[in-house]
């Protein structure tokens, strides 16, 4: 035990001295810490980005972390980057961390995300709610979406309360659907998928919160078309119950970094800020795992090999600078 402590002390001291001598412009040799969360596209993309960093000589370490906790982790610098920040489900956590200080915006992906209430395609095919995806159809078909605990009303299964607070209950009220529909909050994403699977087996209707790109795209999923979103229609943005019926905006997909990352790893940060994936690209990453049953690591290797024309330009710019 004693030896470890002594070793730590010597290590910390020598690390400090050597780091002082290091140059300021090249990337530090310390590993870049990339978070691993619990959905396919995020994990594959983590390894894809890690592969890019490694291609310019950086060391990468993957750290498993809960999505909600990851914002605090970037803020205090225990992980360096966040590469999938979804507007509708994570902007609260994202802006809260930014406000507290320590997390910086590192650009936005090309991909537009859509996160909305919807139904699996077979609900439409079986005619459980004629008229979908227009939201007005919900007025008449609610009985097909009742569950034991919904008291005869149709049930909307929304994601956890931490994702968008009261937006969905307010939307139901804003649309005048609150007499026939009720919102239930799931506790985690896997609860949503379990519900999707169970409803399919039973052939029962279900309206659940989902997003695209996602692994559920493969089985077919239709988003409900609500009145269009505009700035200020939600209560948090100054709206009232007459406007809260608005749907979800087409959302951004952002990247974030710890505020010291540009200084410690200037080259890797430059690449990271240039990275911009499109919806089909993200979808193809997820599909390698979800449809082709590859491991996340193998999928990333394959994706990098197949898409050099996409990512080489991002890393090439840095390599050019340093030569």
């Amino acid at each position: 035990m004693k030896r470890h402590i002594k070793g730590t002390l010597i290590g910390v001291l020598s690390a400090g001295i050597l780091a002082l001598a290091g140059t300021a412009y090249a990337d530090s040799n310390e590993p870049i810490k990339i978070p691993i969360k619990n959905w396919s596209s995020q994990i594959v993309m983590a390894h894809v980005i890690g592969g890019m960093f490694e291609s310019i000589g950086n060391t990468v370490e993957y750290v498993p972390v809960d999505n909600q906790a990851s914002f605090e982790a970037v803020r205090v610098g225990d992980i360096h980057t966040l590469h999938e920040v979804w507007q509708s489900t994570m902007q609260n956590a994202y802006y809260a961390a930014m406000e507290k200080g320590g997390l910086i915006d590192a650009g936005t992906h090309d991909a537009e995300t859509l996160e909305e209430m919807g139904v699996p395609n077979w609900v439409i095919d079986q005619g459980l709610c004629p008229g979908l995806p227009a939201w007005e159809a919900l007025k008449d078909c609610y009985a097909n979406f009742a569950t034991p605990d919904s008291g005869g009303k149709g049930r909307w299964l929304e994601g956890p309360l931490s994702w968008h607070g009261d937006v969905m209950p307010n939307r139901i009220k804003g649309l005048g659907l609150d007499d026939t529909w009720v919102v239930k909050f799931a506790g985690a994403a896997d609860a949503l998928w379990a519900e999707l699977e169970a409803a399919k087996k039973e052939g029962r209707g279900t309206v659940i919160f989902n997003w695209t790109p996602n692994f559920t795209d493969a089985e077919g999923f239709s988003f409900i078309e609500f009145p269009p979103y505009y700035d200020g229609c939600r209560i948090a943005d100054g709206g009232d119950l007459s406007t809260t019926g608005c749907g979800s905006p087409k959302g951004w997909l952002k990247k974030a970094a710890h505020y010291k990352f540009p200084k410690t790893h200037p080259q890797a940060y430059t690449i990271f800020s240039k990275i911009s994936f499109t919806t089909p690209q993200i979808g193809s990453m997820a599909a390698l795992v979800d449809l082709h049953k590859m491991t996340h690591e193998d999928a990333a290797v394959k994706w990098l090999a197949d898409n050099e024309d996409v990512w080489k330009p991002w890393t090439a710019s840095v390599l050019g600078e340093s030569n």
Binding site: G11, A19, L20, A191
Partner: protein
Amino acid sequence: MSPPRIPLKAVQFSGLLVAFFVLANFVDSSDANWLWRFPPLLKDLPFIINDTVQKLLFEWMPIEIYDPDIDDYESSPLFREVTRAVSSSLLVIIEFTREVILGGVKTIVVFTDWDFINENPWAHWPALPWTVITGWAIVLGYRLRGIGLAILAGFSTVYISVFGQWEPSMQTLSFVLVTAPVSVVLGLALGIWAFRSKSVEAALNPLLNVAQTMPHYSYLVPVIVLFGVGDHAAAIATIIFATPPMVRLTLLGLKNVPADVVDAGVMNGCGRFQLLFRVLIPTAKRDVLIGVNQVVMQCLAMTVIASFIGAQGLGSNLMIALNSLKIGTGIEIGVCIVLIAVVLDKMSLAWAHKQKDYFADRTLFQRYSIPILLVAILAGGSILAWIGSFLFEEGRNYLYIVPHNKGITTAPFWQAAVDWTWDTFFFILKDFNEFLITQVLFPMRDLYLGMPVVATFLLMMGTAYILAGFRSALIVGGFLLFIAFSEYWDRALITAYMASFVVIVSAVIGLTVGSLCAQSAVASRAILLVCDFLQTFPSFIYLIPVIMLFGITDTSVIIASVVYATVPATRYTIEGLRSVPVVIQEAGTMSGVSRMQRLVSIEFPLAFPHIMLGINQTVIFGLFMVIIGAFIGTTDLGQLILKAISDRHGTGIGITLGLCVAFIGLAVDQIIRTWAERRKKELGLG
């Protein structure tokens, strides 16, 4: 025992119930009415806690620290620097343990730095081939307890590698190999300290209570801020969770050491430390070892939650598998966790029971046979791995390390089993589910929510007074007052409704199964093994099938909780009944009682205090799982705790909510514990 007491209690209870119903029916339900709901006087508490923590962490005693990364000075609060230093030294130890098994560069980095690693590619510590670890585990198992443990150890390591979970399992193992000893030593030290000083014991007791009953994800945010994200932070959270039972059991063991033994030690001229380590602790061995068992179980039970804040290993793989509904993979990973727990538990117990043989006359070879064997295994395994590097392609050397997720898998089988269960039972269970929700659960919930706050206080404090005395009534009142003055009373009622339903069902099942199995030694051992399994098998795995069968409803939460909360009720019932002295049982039989009479009028009353402690644990386990039920989808305190993780004032809100949960548990704990103590005294058991 004394006949007049029972009618008295019955009269007291009927009086209490009458008063309760009068209050419940005549108090007007409006928010302005204080008798209906207390005003949220503590509404600002979360923010106060938040600001205090904030001040402590980000403002108090700032020191200037030079950060070479950004070539500038940064001010950092002292407290956080201290906690960070603690956690980084812990990290070094974890990574050292990990790299002994799996290889790597980080231990070398500690002595050099990353630039050195980058310039010297040879500076990489090699991993131990899995064959070597397997061989070592078998030898160790054989040496410690014989062929049985050797087979178990061999089976477990082979299982883990064959299923392609070697790397994550070894990551988890190295994590536990650090957290468990730290928890044991810390628990032992605190236990001894509390044994020596009454004031330490008094100060420690409430802290332990809260640490044991507070849901662990309510303090995840402060842990992240103080200790960071990664194995070190997860280790700290695990240690907080695993140490309290060790402290308790150490203290209990030391207190139960007979005075004669201590006197004998003193008369033989023991010094203070000799007395402690040669007399007291060996005598208290049984309880201390139960503590070690609980530490190992708790450390592994934390695997999944630990992965939320950065622990590498099985936990995060489990969450990834479950999030894409790969239940089969989830079950395989869960079995790995259970196997690690069981092997570690058995090995540590065997090691503790091992007597040193001072008189053995052994040759040099006999004395060193074990080290020689271990070295031989290392050499053999390495040669195998070297040969393997020629046999396999694509960098996958199955004789070195079975690559992650490249082993065989039984996932399709488990998937089929889940599908079969669904097809067979779903439509039967659907009606049951509907009945349970509409006829039992919702009416019960509405009943709880319909209680005026004064009626709730009367009921709880009255029960405490009748069963456990005036002092307990005041303590219970204090706990409830905190919740009533917070904003979360209604949510706490929902938590309470689910938890009490869970406790009733679990207690009935646990008592029944426990008393039936206690009749036979074989059945007892078998069911205790099942208990170990259920305690360490991550509940997240069976949450998914449960959700598929019962939907995202309170039923799912309750079923998952009952599975977990039945464990202590069963365990303590068996232990209690089986520890009734044989002499007393025989005395009963000789007096001519039937087996049933003996169980009901002799064994149950004698085992009652121990059984009540089991019920007490059931309350805590049940409450704990109801809160975890937030991951399914609840509308109680757990939902808000989960939300608090990403809130701006999350630290304060999380801690306040966590305290509300802890206080529900502690209020019930106070009543049951004091009641059991009293019964114990009445029965002359101590």
